[in-house]
């Protein structure tokens, strides 16, 4: 802790905020971003069984993932307030037919788990 404090003091004396933000000549910028890990499972409301083939979309950007056999999904996305997720059955009758559902997440922290139950059509 003391060592870090000293480093920042010496860095600060050279009057630039960029000292601790760097990239190698041929590398990327360092990732200082705060994102959010959303994990969850989609199940049928009437049977409680997991549903495969549900498209889970982050409404404010282009990200989505499709649930697998176990109905589970997992994605990192931009950490925004009141994040809106959309659940949509995209494989017609193949794994049953379910009504589209939206959910707004009030996120506290960097990770959230959502259990979603979808109604059959």
């Amino acid at each position: 802790m003391k060592r870090n404090w000293t480093r920042r003091l010496i860095g600060g004396l050279s009057i630039t905020s960029a000292l601790f933000v760097f990239q190698a000549c041929y590398g990327t910028l360092q990732d200082y971003g705060l994102d959010l890990l959303i994990e969850g499972q989609v199940k049928a409301g009437n049977t409680g069984l997991p549903i495969k083939g549900i498209k889970v979309s982050v409404v404010h950007n282009m990200q989505f993932e499709v649930t697998g056999e176990d109905g589970k999904f997992s994605l990192y996305t931009e950490n925004v307030k009141d994040l809106l997720l959309e659940f949509q059955d995209i494989d017609a009758e193949q794994n049953g037919s379910f009504i589209k559902k939206d959910t707004t997440l009030n996120v506290v922290g960097r990770q959230v788990y959502v259990d979603i139950k979808m109604k059959e059509k």
């Binding site: 480093r7 000292l19 760097f22 190698a24 000549c25 360092q30 890990l37 990192y76």
Partner: protein
């Protein structure tokens, strides 16, 4: 006066950083396969690489030895072309589980919308895409007639994400030098916020193409171009950290020159070698993950990187700027190490002298 104080403080800062040598930036040369055959490639990659991709588990065993992880610790996937690995997203997810951030350097050729989304889902945090000129000059350097449109498509996708830390890099050479203003305008029109310019070091395939290198007066022109662009702030333009540029130091980057290879930057190369930036002479490797504990090597070796007195040879021996330059970027020392490969400040001074002559 203030300038001298800043330089003094920065020297002390470099000493302190070198002493602490906190690892927070790790290259992983995860493949040497590549879908392009660029004229300037520093790593001599090919479609039929002699190396197979490093298995993820082998890399994870190495990173699992790392005892302290700063919050911004970023693992940079490089190659070759990292997107050729179909398990890239799985690699990224495993790193995120362990508390590391991750990013890729790509030529953008196969970076499409589907891949963009799957990378974001897997927690990618930063992307660097190469654009080496307008259509003809980019395609020439990249040796592929479709590479420009593919790279621009990738740039549009990456620029559309608020999550990504994203920049474009351009290797400045004889063919694109006169296009820099147009490239800047193109990038601004694509909503690119950060643009990094570097020159080509005569290593790898570039050693056989001296026409790729800038003349002294062109290099001086590049410094002036970057200086001017940074005043306008239309896009965050900077010179890479490849070398020390003397009187231009305060104007072409956010901070003074500091080659952090082996000080904050490490690497795991395709054959398991432990080193710093992948473009550094591989004879400087400090160990190998297949026989050594990665983090022990990081903590206890890397002496040539952390004490660069050995670079006081050749033209560096009596250089008045050595205290700030310390032998230039580490990748400028190849082969016999009798002299630095490129002296950027020397190029500037020669160009200024010839202007004044």
């Amino acid at each position: 006066m203030i300038s001298s104080l800043k330089r003094f403080a920065f020297r002390r800062f470099k000493e302190s950083e070198t002493k602490v040598h906190e690892l927070n930036y790790l290259f992983w040369e995860c493949t040497t396969r590549c879908n392009l055959n660029c004229l300037h490639c520093g790593s001599d990659c090919s479609k039929d690489s002699e190396h197979t991709d490093m298995p993820l588990d082998d890399f994870l065993k190495a990173v699992d030895t790392i005892e302290t992880k700063p919050e911004n610790f970023t693992v940079v996937f490089t190659g070759g072309e990292p997107l050729l690995r179909t398990d890239l997203e799985q690699c990224g997810r495993e790193l995120r589980k362990r508390g590391f951030k991750w990013s890729i350097v790509t030529n953008g050729y196969i970076y499409n919308e589907q891949r963009h989304i799957s990378l974001l889902n897997a927690g990618i945090g930063a992307v660097t895409i190469s654009l080496d000129g307008l259509r003809d000059s980019h395609n020439w350097l990249r040796n592929n007639k479709h590479s420009f449109e593919k790279a621009v498509n990738a740039i549009e996708l990456a620029a559309s994400s608020n999550r990504l830390f994203f920049d474009v890099v351009t290797c400045v050479n004889q063919r694109n030098f006169s296009e820099l203003g147009q490239i800047r305008d193109l990038l601004i029109s694509k909503n690119v916020k950060a643009w990094r310019l570097f020159t080509i070091v005569p290593i790898g395939r570039a050693a056989h193409h001296p026409d790729l290198l800038l003349t002294d007066s062109q290099f001086l022109g590049l410094m002036d171009f970057i200086t001017e662009q940074r005043k306008s702030k239309a896009i965050d333009v900077k010179f890479s950290c490849e070398g020390y540029v003397g009187k231009y130091e305060p104007y072409v980057r956010d901070a003074y020159f500091f080659c952090r290879a082996g000080i904050n930057i490490g690497s795991v190369l395709i054959d398991g070698s432990i080193s710093a930036c992948p473009n550094i002479d591989r004879a400087f490797s400090q160990g190998n993950i297949y026989r050594d504990n990665f983090y022990e090597i990081w903590k206890t070796r890397f002496q040539p990187f952390r004490n660069r007195e050995w670079t006081k040879v050749g033209q560096c021996k009596s250089c008045k700027d050595y205290i700030d330059c310390q032998g230039n970027g580490f990748h400028n020392w190849h082969g016999t190490r009798e002299n630095v490969l490129v002296c950027h400040n020397g190029m500037i001074e020669r160009a200024l002298n010839s202007m004044n002559a």
